[in-house]
């Protein structure tokens, strides 16, 4: 019972309260750059969620059973990057084989997921929060990905409507997106303190 409660609370907290985009500023680049269309944003979010979960689990195991016992913590970042790049390659190959249209529509953004801060971010934060339970690590990584999907989809929805708004010329494009993002974080701060 305790485990389930812990998992649910952890998941909610990382999706809503400690959302990576809104409170830790991770993944801001695709958030500003890609989130122009809702369907693209959703696909991107799912791809990121998959890679986050996979690499979160793999880096946790790597850290716990290889790097810590051998005292190779110095090489941690290099190993993490290798794992992430491998996971992205896997997703790329899978999509190219089974979903060619989706693969074509992603284009250059797919390999660039490697440099999405959410993914390296969750691997580093798992270590910083001293997560020592495999299930919890997978849960948190999955939650971080879902949180990113949520954020990027909300933003895409707003931007689809922003087209009709009368924005001053100098604020068009990125500046107004950033200001909108700021107001969104303000809204999400309402959730703070809901779960300790």
């Amino acid at each position: 019972m305790d485990t389930i409660q812990m998992l649910v609370l952890g998941f909610l907290s990382i999706v809503i309260i400690n959302n990576f985009v809104f409170t830790k500023f991770l993944g801001t680049c695709p958030y500003i750059g890609v989130s122009g269309r809702l369907d693209m944003a959703f696909g991107m979010g799912l791809a990121v969620t998959f890679v986050t979960t996979l690499s979160g689990a793999m880096t946790f195991l790597l850290d716990e059973y290889v790097l810590m016992p051998l005292h190779l913590e110095v090489t941690r970042y290099v190993c993490y990057i290798l794992v992430i790049a491998g996971a992205v390659q896997l997703v790329e190959m899978y999509l190219r084989k089974y979903f060619p249209p989706l693969y074509d529509s992603f284009g250059i953004f797919l390999p660039l997921i490697t440099t999405n801060c959410v993914i390296l971010g969750i691997c580093l934060f798992l270590d910083q929060w001293q997560t020592n339970n495999f299930l919890e690590a997978v849960n948190l990584s999955f939650g971080a990905g879902i949180g990113f999907t949520l954020a990027i989809c909300i933003m895409a929805g707003i931007r689809e409507n922003l087209v009709f708004a009368d924005v001053p010329p100098c604020l068009q494009g990125a500046p107004i997106t950033l200001i909108t993002a700021g107001l969104l974080t303000l809204a999400f701060m309402g959730f703070a303190g809901m779960i300790k």
Binding site: T115, C117, Q128, P175, L178
Partner: protein, 211 residues
């Protein structure tokens, strides 16, 4: 960026590019995560900026040296691995000599690895140009990044606490002054909105300068 390699690149043009024309934050809109996250105080912004300068120069030199051996499909992986090595050096250095700052910046130092500016410069400059131009480009881009970070951090720190690098700029109301700190400036909302307005200002000024 595409026309950079069309003509021969001069040192002064590279410097101008990094500082103004393609300023990482205001021109290319790259490396947003650290820009937003570490600009709560000036000290954090400067530490971050210097680490980025170090990593940029180091990785640009390395990649420029091995640019002829790079296979196209392994390129990005080699870039990230090179960068990861330099970030590890910077991280270990900060842990040893600046433990307080290292603790404060936490995961954002290792996150320099996935900072888009560094990969962008490896791809756009270091993998095509010689060692000297790559070094200058790394320095100019890094300084441009640091200047933008400092600008944002100064605005946020002064408005959030009335202090700048520990000196009192605006006397606080609770200490007998007149300034009531803006709590929002220390929060994520302050980062996003300030950067948005600064970008708007930059666009406005560029347009005006062009006539």
């Amino acid at each position: 960026m595409a026309n950079d390699n069309a003509q021969s690149v001069t040192t002064s043009a590279t410097v101008w590019n990094g500082l103004f024309k393609e300023n990482p934050t205001f021109g290319l809109m790259l490396g947003m995560c650290p820009t937003l996250a570490v600009t709560t105080t000036m000290e954090a912004a400067l530490t971050m900026g210097i680490s980025v300068i170090f990593v940029l120069i180091g990785s640009n030199i390395m990649i420029s040296v091995m640019r002829r051996q790079l296979k196209p499909h392994l390129r990005i992986l080699m870039f990230t691995l090179t960068i990861a090595v330099f970030v590890t050096i910077a991280d270990q250095f900060l842990k040893a000599y600046q433990p307080v700052m290292s603790e404060y910046l936490g995961a954002y130092i290792p996150l320099i690895i996935v900072n888009c500016i560094i990969i962008c410069r490896s791809e756009a400059c270091a993998s095509k140009q010689g060692v000297w131009i790559s070094t200058v480009d790394g320095l100019a881009m890094g300084v441009g990044f640091t200047v933008s970070l400092s600008l944002l951090a100064s605005i946020r720190e002064i408005l959030a606490s009335g202090k700048w690098l520990g000196m009192t700029v605006l006397p606080l109301a609770e200490n007998g002054g007149w300034f009531v700190p803006w709590a929002g400036m220390g929060m994520p909302v302050g980062a996003f909105v300030t950067l948005g307005l600064l970008l708007g200002l930059a666009v406005h000024l560029t347009k005006k300068a062009k006539g």
